[in-house]
């Protein structure tokens, strides 16, 4: 039970790993993505992506700016223009 999560910027592939859940700051509100999420696409606003490695674990936050998120068969892909930290 794992969600494949990829965070990509123009400069490089920042993350590519299996995680439990990711909370993405969408333009119309934050949304959490678990494994088996229906195909979905949204633009994102500037904010923090929260990555939960395992259930109940403290989230790791990654600041992203500009971009969009896509949920497909092979997991969640966040395409961001800038990533801080």
């Amino acid at each position: 039970m794992a969600l494949h999560f990829e965070l990509v910027t123009p400069a490089k592939l920042v993350r590519s790993e299996d995680v439990h859940m990711v909370v993405v700051p969408g333009t119309e509100g934050e949304f959490g993505v678990l494994e088996g999420h229906a195909p979905f696409m949204s633009t994102i606003r500037d904010g923090a992506v929260q990555v939960y490695k395992t259930e109940g674990a403290a989230p790791e936050t990654i600041e992203v700016r500009g971009g969009f998120a896509e949920v497909g068969e092979n997991g969640l892909t966040v395409l961001a223009e800038h990533v801080d930290g």
């Binding site: 990509v8 910027t9 123009p10 400069a11 490089k12 592939l13 969408g26 333009t27 119309e28 229906a38 195909p39 979905f40 696409m41 949204s42 633009t43 500009g66 971009g67 969009f68 896509e70 497909g72 892909t77 395409l79 223009e81």
Partner: protein
């Protein structure tokens, strides 16, 4: 016949040239590795983006499509975005890019279109100015930053999109070198605006994808981003091509300088020997006369 002193001077000057070309070659080799890594690291983003583009472009069609995708409806005025390097010493790279751009420009002019140039990088200015002095829109300077990155690509893309929205041109083409290897960099011409609809975009069959806010809004945000990514890719390819071409050119130059030094040294030794022989003959002749 050059005098001994002159020959010595020439040998020394060729030697210092060789030192410069050798240093430049080694610098280029070191930079090439980094530039290549950067170009490769940028590929996943571009791939994902065009994947998403393909699936979206198929869905939004007809009149509702944004201008960046559908075009202005005419194709009279063309803009050639030519990406050149800022520094020389890289062999025929820049002249190849310029040649490709000029071929494209002539072909378009022959079809009766208007052609303008938008130049990125210093080295394309002079040769394009020679043939198309009145057609140059703008020089975009990338020489002030060390490693042109996403910010520069963003600035160029924003500028281009603004001009497009104002209706200054109908179609934009991007001319840039694609890095194949240190020996080969192919100048390529790609259509940039309107964004060419990706082929085979019909995904069909797939589960219904939900869009937030909506397909059109996403597409509208996506298209400028796609243009930026294209330009960013072009800048990275240019960087890798420049270093690759520079490495090869400087390797050749170093080798040629070595050959020249050998030839000059042989000539120098010959004339030195000839001078000694003449001197000896003079002394012997003088002794015999006594």
């Amino acid at each position: 016949m050059a005098s001994l002193k002159e020959l010595k001077g020439r040998i020394n000057s060729v030697k210092s040239t060789q030192k410069i070309t050798k240093a430049k070659q080694m610098v280029a080799a070191a930079k090439l590795r980094r530039a290549q890594a950067a170009a490769e690291a940028a590929r996943p983003y571009a791939e994902r983006l065009s994947g998403v583009m393909a699936s979206l472009a198929g869905m939004v069609s007809g009149d509702s499509a944004p201008k960046l995708l559908a075009g202005t409806g005419s194709d009279k005025r063309h803009l050639l975005v030519v990406v050149n390097t800022d520094k020389g010493l890289c062999g025929g790279l820049n002249s190849n890019i310029v040649k490709a751009a000029k071929v494209k420009a002539r072909a378009l002019i022959a079809e009766g279109k208007d052609v303008k140039f938008y130049l990125v990088g210093k080295k394309g200015r002079a040769p394009i100015k020679r043939d198309f002095a009145n057609n140059i829109e703008k020089h975009f300077d990338t020489s002030t930053v060390r490693n042109p990155g996403f910010e520069e690509a963003e600035a160029i893309a924003d500028d281009l999109i603004e001009r497009f929205e104002k209706g200054e041109f109908d179609v934009a083409h991007l001319v840039y070198p694609i890095f194949q290897s240190a020996l080969a960099q192919d100048p390529t011409v790609d259509q940039l605006i309107p964004v060419p609809s990706p082929e085979g975009g019909a995904t069909g069959g797939d589960a219904v994808v939900e869009y937030e806010p909506g397909e059109e809004e996403i597409l509208e945000e996506l298209l400028p981003r796609y243009v930026k990514t294209q330009l960013f890719g072009a800048l990275l390819e240019r960087e890798a091509s420049e270093q690759g071409a520079s490495m090869t050119a400087m390797d050749n130059a170093t080798r040629n300088a070595g050959d020249l030094i050998n030839k000059l040294t042989i000539q120098y030794n010959r004339s030195r020997q000839a001078a000694i022989t003449t001197e000896l003959i003079e002394i012997i002749a003088g002794a015999e006369a006594l």
